[in-house]
C-alpha cells in the first residue's frame, strides 16, 4: 500500500515560486496515483482567494492551476479556518476548512508531511 503524503502550502501565490512548487509536488503525486493531501495554512490561504488579478502583477495565474487538482485525483484539499479568518477570507468552495484541532488530527493520519 502506498504511503500517504500531506503537503502544507504556506506561501501567498505572489510571493515567489513557492506556492507553484508546492502545487507541483501535489500534482506530481496525483499523476502517480499516490494518496496526497493538500493543506493551505498561514499565507497559503491567499491562494484560495477569488477574483485575483495576476496580470496586474505581470504574473501567471497560479490559482487557475488549483482547478487541475481534481483532474489529478486530488480530493483531499483543506484550508486552515484560523488562517482564513485572520486574513478576512471567506470559507473557500474548493477546500474544506478545518480547525486547528482537526488539522492536528489530520496530520497524524498521513504517513509523511512536507511543508513548503
Amino acid at each position: 500500500m502506498s504511503r500517504s503524503l500531506l503537503v502544507i502550502s504556506r506561501q501567498a501565490p505572489w510571493s515567489g515560486p513557492s506556492a507553484r512548487e508546492a502545487l507541483d509536488v501535489v500534482l506530481a503525486g496525483g499523476a502517480f496515483d499516490l494518496p496526497i493531501g493538500l493543506l493551505f495554512l498561514d499565507d497559503g490561504v491567499f491562494q484560495l482567494a477569488t477574483a485575483q488579478d495576476a496580470k496586474a502583477l505581470q504574473q501567471k495565474d497560479v490559482t487557475a492551476n488549483l482547478q487541475a487538482l481534481s483532474l489529478f485525483g486530488i480530493d483531499e484539499v483543506f484550508a486552515c479556518s484560523h488562517s482564513l479568518a485572520e486574513r478576512g477570507l471567506s470559507p473557500p468552495d474548493n477546500a474544506q476548512p478545518l480547525s486547528s484541532e482537526q488539522i492536528s488530527q489530520m496530520i497524524d493520519r498521513y504517513d509523511q508531511v512536507m511543508t513548503l
Binding site: L5, P17, S18, E21, V25, L34, M114, T115
Partner: protein, 130 residues
C-alpha cells in the same frame, strides 16, 4: 531506518548545514539514506559555483564530498534548478546557456524521484523552507 531527505534551502542557509549534519549522523548511526532530493532554493546547495569566504564553511563543497564519498543518490529537481539557473552540461547546451554549475555526483531529475523516495523510505525529513 531508511531516510529520504529533502532540502529546500541554499548552501548559505543554516538549514542546509543542518540537513548535511543530519545525513552524516544518519549514516554514522547505521541508517540508510535512500535519496537526497534538493528542491526550491535547495538546488543552490548543489551548485559548484558557490565561493565561500576562507574562514567560513563551504557547505556546497561538503555536500558534494559527502555524496561522493558515500555514493548517495543525490537528486536535484530539474524544474526548480532551471528556474534558478543551476544547470548541468546537458541543460546548458539545451537552452544555450554559457554557465554550467552542477555535475557529478548530482543528477537533475523530476519530482517523480521525490515521490519514489517517499514511498521507499520509512521517514521523510525536510529541511529549510519557510
Amino acid at each position: 531506518m531508511k531516510f529520504a531527505i529533502a532540502l529546500f534551502s541554499a548552501a548559505h542557509a543554516p538549514s542546509s548545514r543542518r540537513a548535511l549534519q543530519f545525513a552524516q549522523a544518519a549514516l554514522a548511526g547505521g541508517h540508510e539514506v535512500v535519496r537526497l532530493f534538493f528542491y526550491q532554493d535547495g538546488v543552490y546547495s548543489a551548485s559548484n559555483s558557490v565561493v565561500t569566504p576562507q574562514d567560513e564553511q563551504d557547505i556546497a563543497q561538503q555536500w558534494r564530498a559527502f555524496v561522493s564519498e558515500h555514493q548517495l543518490d543525490g537528486v536535484v529537481c530539474i524544474a526548480a534548478a532551471l528556474r534558478r539557473g543551476v544547470l548541468n552540461n546537458e541543460e546548458a547546451s539545451r537552452y544555450q546557456r554559457s554557465a554550467v554549475n552542477i555535475d557529478a555526483p548530482w543528477a537533475l531529475s523530476g519530482l517523480g524521484q521525490l515521490h519514489d523516495a517517499i514511498q521507499d523510505a520509512d521517514r521523510l525529513i525536510c529541511f529549510g523552507g519557510p
